[in-house]
């Protein structure tokens, strides 16, 4: 599906990271963990072809990303950026319909079918009540949900999400993680970044740990996210506990100072 081979990434001449090998297949959730400034967003932008690769390559269904036109890339992989404010007060449904652009001809406007798909995506995330509200007037969490809805309306088999839970309240975090899991079960390939190891434990089929632009480890959540590694990367000591229900949680030790 979406794979990076020996990928070096950065802005212009400045290298942010290198030697990254990643792959995500249908029905998989790949969770990228790493501290602030470790290069998660830059890596994602390179994997989406928004930044040129400095080394190695990204392939989409085996095709080198660099050889595909933008519309072909957008039909195969959708991007959920971190929630932002728009410059102009588009309605939420207009914002979501923009996800249909890759399926439209260059001179076409969205049809009734496209609008129905946008409405359905809004309903999936439980924000259909906001359809006609201005995107600039809703909260950061609602914007994040709208951006996820836009990615759903894009109907790409893979979705890359940059910290989709960062600006959400507790309830919406659970809602979005549950939706991510459901999307993977329905056959999508999903890559997301997060700051919360618990989120990786709850939705990820695989975890990749990024530190200073290099992949530290990759594999099943319980194998990658060990207390030692988390301490090495984040500088705080944590315990990993398995609950009786089978869930794994990460419990920080608030008594220690940063190493």
């Amino acid at each position: 599906m979406l794979e990076a081979r020996g990928l070096g990434f950065g802005y212009g001449a400045r290298a942010v990271g290198r030697d990254v090998d990643l792959e995500v297949r249908p029905r998989e959730v790949l969770c990228l963990l790493g501290p602030n400034g470790s290069g998660k967003t830059t890596l994602f932008k390179t994997m989406l072809g928004l930044l040129p690769a400095q080394a190695g390559e990204v392939r989409l269904d085996g095709d080198p990303l660099a050889s595909l036109p933008r519309s072909a890339i957008a039909q195969r992989v959708a991007y959920v950026p971190q929630a932002h404010s728009a410059q102009f007060p588009f309605s939420v449904v207009d914002m979501v319909v923009m996800g249909r652009t890759a399926h439209l001809g260059p001179f076409a406007s969205p049809s009734e079918t496209d609008r129905r798909k946008a409405a359905a995506a809004l309903a999936t995330l439980g924000i259909d009540g906001l359809a006609e509200t201005e995107y600039t007037r809703i909260s950061g969490g609602q914007r994040q949900l709208a951006l996820i809805a836009r990615a759903l309306a894009q109907e790409a088999p893979a979705i890359v999400m940059d910290e989709p839970t960062a600006s959400l309240d507790f309830g919406n975090q659970v809602l979005v993680l549950a939706e991510i899991r459901r999307l993977a079960v329905s056959g999508l390939a999903i890559v997301l970044s997060t700051h919360d190891p618990d989120h990786a434990f709850s939705v990820a089929s695989r975890v990749a740990l990024l530190d200073a632009g290099r992949l530290l480890a990759q594999g099943a959540p319980r194998e990658v996210l060990t207390p030692e590694r988390l301490q090495a990367v984040y500088g705080v000591s944590v315990a990993i506990e398995r609950l009786t229900g089978g869930q794994t949680v990460c419990v920080p030790d608030y008594g220690t100072d940063r190493a």
Partner: protein, 347 residues
């Protein structure tokens, strides 16, 4: 249930927007008619209708009414409507493209460049058509130069580089204009230069309108055809590309179209400020930011507005008031009022 309610709400909104556009079209038609009748030589509605009927039926003209109506007023009225529509369309496109509601069509230097061309033409004592041609070419060349510089300077923010290049080239052209003003004949050329730089339609003839019209329409075609993608581009380069839009190419097409429209109008009217800045703003408040609705609304509004201002310019005083002075005197306070009222309509 919910879906029907949603669809009804959307339908009501769509209806209201259609109403706005229809209403503006009616206002424009009335303004056109009014502008044809008033002036130093007032014409009654009946006389005007009779004159039009005679012209359409091919009957011989009956004196002064026809001369005033068809040779003087009609070209001027059409030029004002065309100019207002073109400047507002270019402004709407640029504001969406640069993701900034404070941008006007001359952000990339088209007006300053055209101004330099015209001033040079006046300085060299070229005929009127020559001045217009050189103004048009210099406007296009200036934006071409700005775009060229921005493409050579590779930055992380292509839009910022474009705007900065526009500012730099624009101030260079401004300096060249000042130099020519100092060198110009103060009794003959300098007043003409000053008048041109403030914009006026006083000398507009039919042939000029017919020359500018196809160029404006040519610029309008890509804006209409690409209206949806222009919306997507307002999310920023990166997001637009992630949604499947070739942002760089689309931006070039929009800049080319808006520049062509602006340059063709500025060449016959001189530099008219504020229309391309304020009118898209008001249009956005009326119908929202979506470009497919913004474009026709801004064009209708811009046409009526410049027509009204030009009619004022030739009737309010015994001398002709330059358009640029009036559009600034109306536009600037209005813009301040918009600012004070809150940022509704843009963020």
């Amino acid at each position: 249930m919910r879906e029907t309610a949603l669809r009804n709400a959307a339908a009501t909104r769509a209806g209201r927007r259609l109403g706005v556009i229809g209403g503006l079209a009616a206002v424009l038609a009335l303004t056109l008619l009014g502008a044809l009748l008033v002036g130093a030589y007032p014409i009654s509605l009946a006389d005007a209708l009779a004159a039009f009927a005679r012209r359409l039926s091919g009957a011989p003209a009956q004196g002064q009414i026809e001369t005033v109506l068809f040779d003087v007023r009609l070209p001027r009225v059409l030029a004002a409507a065309l100019g207002g529509a073109a400047l507002a369309a270019a402004g709407a496109a640029y504001q969406t493209l640069f993701r900034n509601p404070l941008v006007s069509p001359d952000i990339l230097g088209v007006s300053t460049g055209a101004g330099l061309g015209a001033v040079l033409g006046i300085f060299l004592s070229l005929p009127v058509a020559g001045i217009q041609l050189i103004a048009f070419a210099a406007g296009l060349a200036t934006v071409g130069l700005v775009y060229g510089i921005a493409s050579v300077v590779h930055g992380r923010e292509p839009i910022l580089v474009l705007v900065l290049a526009g500012v730099v080239v624009g101030s260079l052209a401004g300096a060249a204009i000042s130099l020519l003003k100092i060198l110009a004949d103060p009794y003959d050329q300098l007043p003409a230069i000053t008048f041109w730089l403030l914009g006026s339609l006083a000398a507009t003839r039919g042939a000029e309108v017919w020359a500018a019209l196809p160029l404006v329409l040519l610029g309008l075609v890509p804006l209409v055809a690409l209206r949806w993608r222009i919306n997507v581009l307002s999310l920023g380069d990166e997001e637009a590309r992630a949604l499947g839009v070739e942002a760089g190419r689309l931006r070039l097409a929009v800049i080319g179209a808006a520049t062509l429209m602006t340059a063709s109008v500025v060449a016959i009217s001189g530099v008219i400020g504020w229309v391309g800045l304020v009118i898209p703003h008001i249009a956005r408040m009326a119908v929202g930011p979506s470009f497919d609705r913004l474009l026709p609304t801004a064009m209708l509004l811009g046409a009526s507005y410049l027509l009204l201002v030009d009619t004022l310019a030739r009737t309010m005083a015994r001398i002709e008031v330059p358009l640029g002075i009036l559009t600034a005197m109306i536009g600037a306070p209005f813009f301040l009022w918009l600012l004070a009222k809150g940022r509704e309509g843009w963020s």
